[in-house]
Symmetry: none
DNA sequence: GATGAATGAGCGTTCATTCAT
DNA sequence: AATGAATGAACGCTCATTCAT
C-alpha cells in the first residue's frame, strides 16, 4: 500500500483560484451556482456576468475567486477527479485480489453518481454531467502544455496511474498499461455521452452495461 | 460486400454550408486557409474576421459559404471522416479474412496521415490534428441532438458502423460491438493527443504502438 | 373646373425609380411583393435581400429598378396618393355644391379601402396600411427638403391643395384653409392608427365615425 | 380639480432604462449629448457608437443605461411629454373658465419652447424639435402594442386625456372628445413640421398662427 | 436586362476585465 | 472583502451596394 488518500478534504491545486472558495459563503455560492449554471447552459455560454446575476452579486466579485471561467472549470474538474480518486482509494483499500480491485475501480468510474452529503454546496450528479460534456474542453486548448506544467491536471493523471498500477498487478508483462488505463477512463465518460446523444453507436444503455463492457474489455485484454 | 463507396468526391451534408465551397476559388481558399488557421490558433480563437484577413477578403464573404464557424468545423470534420471512410472501404475491399480487415481498419485509423494529392486545397495532415484537438468540441454542445437529427454526424456514425460490422464478423456473439467500435475509434484519437501532451499516461509514443495497442485490445476482447 | 386627372395611368415621379417597374414582369413582381413584405415586417426590417428571397431573384436585380428602399417607399406612397387623388377627382367631378364635395372628399379619405382590380399587382388594402404605418417616415428625414425640391411629394401636396380649394369654396374668408386641409388628411390617417393601437385616445372605432368626426370638424370650423 | 402633478421630478417609466441616467454624471452626459446628436443627425443615423465618440466614452458604457437606441428615444419622448404635462397642469391650475383652460392648453402645446433651467442637462428646445421629427417613429413600429402594454406611452395618453377632459367641460355632449384632443395635439406637431418643410400646404408660419388655428378649430368644433 | 458573387462598412451587443470606492 | 461602474476590444452578423458576367 503506497500513497494514501492525500485529499480527504478534497484539495485542489491552489493556483487554480485567487482565493479559496471554500473559505467563504460567497465562495461556496459561486461553486454551487456555477455547477448549476454550467450544467444548464454549457461552458461556452457561461459567463461571470450571468453567474453574477444568478448569485445576485456583481461579476467583479467572482474575479476575486477565479481568474476566468477556464480556471473555474479546471477547479471543478479537479475537484471531481479528486473526489473520484477518494472513492477509488476508499473502495479498493484492503482488497488483495487484483481482479477484485479492478472490478471495484471500474464500478467507481461507471456507477451512477449520487449526491455526497459531505459536500453540501456541490451537486455531484450535475458535476458528473459537466465532466461528461465539458471535461475534454478543459485540456483541448492551446495552453494545455503550460497548464499541465502548472500541475492543473495532476489529480487526473494520478487517477490514471492508480488504475495503471492495478492493471500491472494483474498482468505485469502487458505492454500498454497506461494506454489501457487512460482508454478505459475516457471510455467510461465517452460511452456515457453516446448513450445520451448517439445511442446508435453504443451498446451501453445503462451504467451496468458500461461496467460489464469495460470489465470484459480490460480483463480479456490482460489475459496472457 | 454491401454498400460501396458512396462518396468518391467526398460529399458533405449540404446543410452544413450555404454555398458549396468546392464550387469556387474563394470557397476553396476558405477551406484551405481555415484548416491552417484553426490548426494554428484553435477553434476558440478562430474567427471569420481573422480568416478574412488571412485570405484578404472580407469576413462577410465567408458568410456566403458558412453560417458560422461551428458549421465550418462540422464541414471540415465531416469531410475528414468521409475521407477516412473512403480509405477504410478502399483498403478493406476484397479482403475476405475478418482479422485482416480489422487490422487494415486499425491501420487506417492510426497510421500517420499523409497528404492526399487528389484534394489540393485540403491539407490532410493538419486536418487530422484538427480532428484530434477539436472534433469532440463539434458534438459536445447543447445543440448536439438537433444537429444529429439534421444528419451532421451521419458520416462519423456510418464509419463506426462499418467497424462494428467487422467486429461482428470476427465474433458474432460479442455483446458490445458498437461500444467496442466507438471506443477504439475514440481511443485512436485520444491516444494521439496524450502522446503529444500527456505522455506520462500513455504507452503509445508512435503510431505503430497505437496500432498494436488497439489491435491487441480488439482481438483479445473478441476472443471467445 | 380646373385641372383634370393628370394621372389616369397612375404616374409616379420618374426620378423615384431607375427603371419603371410597370414595364416588366420583374418590376411588377417587385412592387407586388414589396407591398406584401413591407406590410408584413415594416420598413425598418425590410431589405432588398429579403425581397430578393421572396421573389426568388437576386437583390442586385432590384437595384436596377430602385436606388434604395427609401425610394421604393416613396414610389409606393406616391402611387397611393395618386390613386387617392384619382378617386377624389372622379368622385367630386360634376358636383356643384361645395358641401357635397367636401363630404365626398372626406369619404374618399376615410372609407375602407377595397382592392382596385385595374391594378392587378397592387394590393391597395395592404398599401393603405403601409401608408398608415410608414408614410410619415418617408418625409421625416434629414433629406426631406432636398427630396421635396425633387418633387417627390408633389402628388401629396396637390391632393391637399385640392382639399384646400374645396374648403375655400365653402368659406373664402377662412384664414387657415391649407392648415385645415393638411390637418384633416393627416387626422384621417392618424385616427386610423389610434383605432388599431391606442383605442383609449380616440372615439373613432369605425371608418364611419372617422368620417363623421372629420366632417363635423371641417364644417363647424368653416361656419361663419 | 382631480389629479395633481404626479411628476415634479419628471419621472419616466423605469422599464425604459437599465440604470436611471439621472443618477450619475455619465447618465446625464448621455441624455444631454443624445439630444444634441439625435437632433443633429436624426434617429436613423444615430448610433451608440457615435454617441460614445461624442461623449468620449465607450458605447458599451451606454448599454449600462439603455438597452438600445429605441428605448433611449422612448425615454426622451416620455420625458418631454411629462415635462409638457407638468406645464399644462401648472398653467391651467386654478382656472375656472373652461375656455380659458383650453386656450392655455393650446398655448402650452404651440408656444415656442424655451429652455427650462431646472433641468440643466436637457435642452428642451432641441428636444421639442426631436419630438416633431422623431416622435411618430417611436410608435410606428411592429412592437407598438407590446410597448404600449408595458406603459411606455402612458404619459402621452394621459396628456391627451387631460385635454379631452377640458373639451368635455366645454361641451359635454360632443361625441368625439378624445379624437379631437388627439387630433389637436398631433396637429400642433404636424403643422410645426409643415411650417419648416412644406410651407405650401400650411398657413401657420408662426406659433401664434398655429395657436389661433387650433384654438379656432377647437372652439368652433365644440359650438353647440 | 438580369443575375450571382463579393465586399466594405458598421451595427448592436457581449465579454472579460479593471478601477474606484 | 465585496461591489458598482466603466470600459476596450472584439464578436457575429447584416446591410446596402458594386462588379463581372
Amino acid at each position: 500500500m503506497k500513497r494514501l488518500l492525500s485529499n480527504i478534504k478534497i484539495q485542489v491545486n491552489e493556483n487554480l483560484y485567487n482565493k479559496d472558495p471554500e473559505t467563504s459563503d460567497l465562495g461556496k455560492k459561486i461553486i454551487q451556482n456555477s455547477i448549476e449554471l454550467i450544467h444548464e447552459i454549457g461552458i461556452e455560454s457561461f459567463t461571470f456576468k450571468k453567474l453574477g446575476v444568478k448569485i445576485q452579486s456583481n461579476e467583479s466579485s467572482i474575479y476575486r475567486y477565479f481568474e476566468n471561467k477556464h480556471k473555474l472549470l479546471l477547479y471543478l474538474t479537479s475537484w471531481y477527479w479528486s473526489w473520484i480518486e477518494y472513492q477509488l482509494v476508499f473502495n479498493t483499500f484492503n482488497l488483495s485480489n487484483p481482479t477484485d480491485k479492478i472490478e471495484r475501480a471500474i464500478q467507481v468510474f461507471t456507477q451512477p453518481v449520487s449526491e455526497d452529503s459531505s459536500y453540501e454546496h456541490i451537486n455531484e450528479v450535475l458535476l458528473n454531467e459537466i465532466i461528461i460534456n465539458e471535461f475534454s474542453k478543459s485540456y483541448l486548448t492551446k495552453e494545455v502544455d503550460h497548464e499541465n506544467k502548472e500541475g492543473y491536471f495532476s489529480v487526473f493523471k494520478r487517477l490514471i496511474t492508480r488504475l495503471q498500477e492495478m492493471i500491472v498487478e494483474i498482468n505485469p508483462e502487458y505492454s500498454y498499461p497506461y494506454s489501457l488505463a487512460s482508454t478505459v477512463l475516457e471510455a467510461s465518460i465517452y460511452q456515457s455521452f453516446l448513450k445520451d446523444h448517439f445511442p446508435s453507436i453504443t451498446d451501453c444503455s445503462s451504467s451496468e452495461q458500461t461496467k460489464n463492457f469495460l470489465l470484459h474489455l480490460i480483463t480479456n485484454t490482460l489475459k496472457k
